[in-house]
């Protein structure tokens, strides 16, 4: 996100904190497609993603006054709200059934996830503030990178990762943990 856009979103959030509905409409217009994309990618169902998005924007409206620009960039703050809400959503009971509640698709829902989808990562390399992260991800072992990106983009849990990557649970947990440790080290030095 470029600094100008960043600044604009900060101002819009500040105005939302003062209950300016026009600013909120503009904020929605500028950010909802990205956040809906994030929710849809994790939840895999439009109706769920729509509900989560609604709740998140109501929450953003209610808490905009608490947003502090010094704490995090606006998009980081809003993305975290959406991701957390999605992950809480996935924590509901009966998830195995709920992943495909309409019974339209009898295949394993995890099969729908592209296994080596380079899309999001490729795009990152061209975005300024994501370059460092893309570079650091590039330095991870392939399996570590795959586990971390599947968890982040698709909201997979350890056991889902294990089943998707056809590896023992312990192995996958280690990949995630080591990958995160290395990312932290790498990002600290770039």
């Amino acid at each position: 996100m470029d600094p100008v856009q960043n600044r604009l979103l900060q101002e819009l959030l500040a105005a939302c904190g003062r209950k300016d509905q026009g600013a909120f409409a503009r904020l929605y217009q500028d950010t909802s497609s990205k956040l809906f994309g994030v929710a849809l990618r994790i939840l895999k169902r439009e109706d769920w993603a729509e509900e989560v998005l609604q709740d998140c924007y109501v929450s953003i409206w209610n808490h905009a006054a608490n947003y502090s620009a010094g704490m995090s960039a606006p998009m980081t703050w809003m993305t975290s709200i959406v991701r957390n809400r999605c992950l809480d959503w996935l924590r509901r009971p009966n998830l195995e059934v709920a992943l495909d509640p309409l019974g339209e698709d009898s295949e394993d829902p995890l099969e729908r996830i592209p296994s080596d989808d380079p899309g999001p990562l490729d795009r990152l390399a061209h975005l300024n503030d994501a370059k460092a992260l893309a570079e650091c991800l590039g330095r991870l072992e392939a399996k570590q990178r795959q586990a971390i990106t599947l968890a982040f983009f698709d909201g997979l849990s350890h056991s889902e990762l294990a089943s998707h990557m056809r590896q023992p649970l312990g192995t996958v947990k280690t990949w995630v943990r080591r990958g995160l440790e290395r990312l932290r080290g790498c990002l600290g030095t770039t």
Partner: protein
């Protein structure tokens, strides 16, 4: 709390929380710690800052217009934040929520049942002859209010204590969205127990649902009843899967 003395553990948990691999009870516990620990929140923010740029790589998808319309109407009436995600496990939440309405509901039922039993059409139980006895009949009663639209009374349910017939009355329940239906649920009093379906709500203003057993064995377990929007024929997940439109305490009336 042991985690406080373990910076490496804090770092690992924060990272996995942000990444999303911290799940289930571990996630809930971590969220509790977060509420009370500013330092831990700082570590989480750091990880959000590190990983959030990943989201920039996700395809943008324009949400349907109805999403904005719905957000607009919700912030217009004070930004009612509907609880979401994981809250089905939290019967404490429902109990707390229902308490607010209990006082008025009890007063209302008392007024209706004692003063004008015929007008609320308390189901005619064969052994009951007079209005006074109708009012005395031990029963379970639930009064459900709209979750939005200013918490108006939308639905009532009544079952005599020994009966397995749940008498329901739609007071002011809008039609469900096209291709969807309303399902009635009992939210158990015991924490951790799943909501239980009490059946689909018939379109008629008044109807009777069959309970799986006598009310004092079935409704006895629920502190709250809710209505959710579900696919025709009912939720496929065994739990409420769509928006909750109404809720209210289920209480003994004797």
């Amino acid at each position: 709390m042991k985690y406080r003395d373990k910076p490496e553990l804090q770092e690992k948990l924060a990272a996995e929380f942000v990444l999303g691999t911290l799940r289930g009870r571990a996630r809930l516990r971590f969220q509790t710690w977060l509420r009370n620990d500013a330092r831990l929140r700082g570590i989480v923010s750091e990880w959000e800052r590190r990983l959030a740029p990943l989201a920039a790589g996700v395809d943008e998808v324009r949400p349907p217009q109805r999403v904005w319309r719905s957000i607009e109407s919700r912030i217009a009436d004070g930004g009612s934040a509907r609880p979401r995600g994981g809250f089905w496990e939290s019967t404490a939440f429902w109990r707390g929520w229902g308490l607010v309405a209990t006082g008025c509901a009890a007063a209302l039922v008392a007024a209706l049942a004692l003063q004008q039993p015929q007008r609320i059409e308390v189901p005619v139980v064969q052994t009951v002859e007079t209005p006074a006895q109708v009012a005395m009949q031990p029963a379970y009663v639930a009064i459900l209010y709209a979750k939005e639209e200013g918490e108006k009374l939308v639905f009532m349910a009544y079952a005599a204590r020994k009966s397995n017939e749940l008498w329901v009355r739609r007071v002011d329940l809008q039609k469900p969205p096209t291709g969807r239906d309303y399902e009635l649920w009992g939210i158990p009093s015991k924490p951790g127990e799943r909501p239980q379906s009490l059946g689909m709500i018939p379109a008629a203003a008044k109807a009777t649902l069959k309970l799986p057993g006598a009310a004092d064995e079935t409704l006895e377990n629920f502190s709250v009843l809710v209505i959710s929007i579900e696919p025709i024929g009912g939720s496929k997940t065994g739990s409420p899967s769509g928006q909750v439109v109404a809720k209210g305490d289920c209480f003994k009336f004797w």
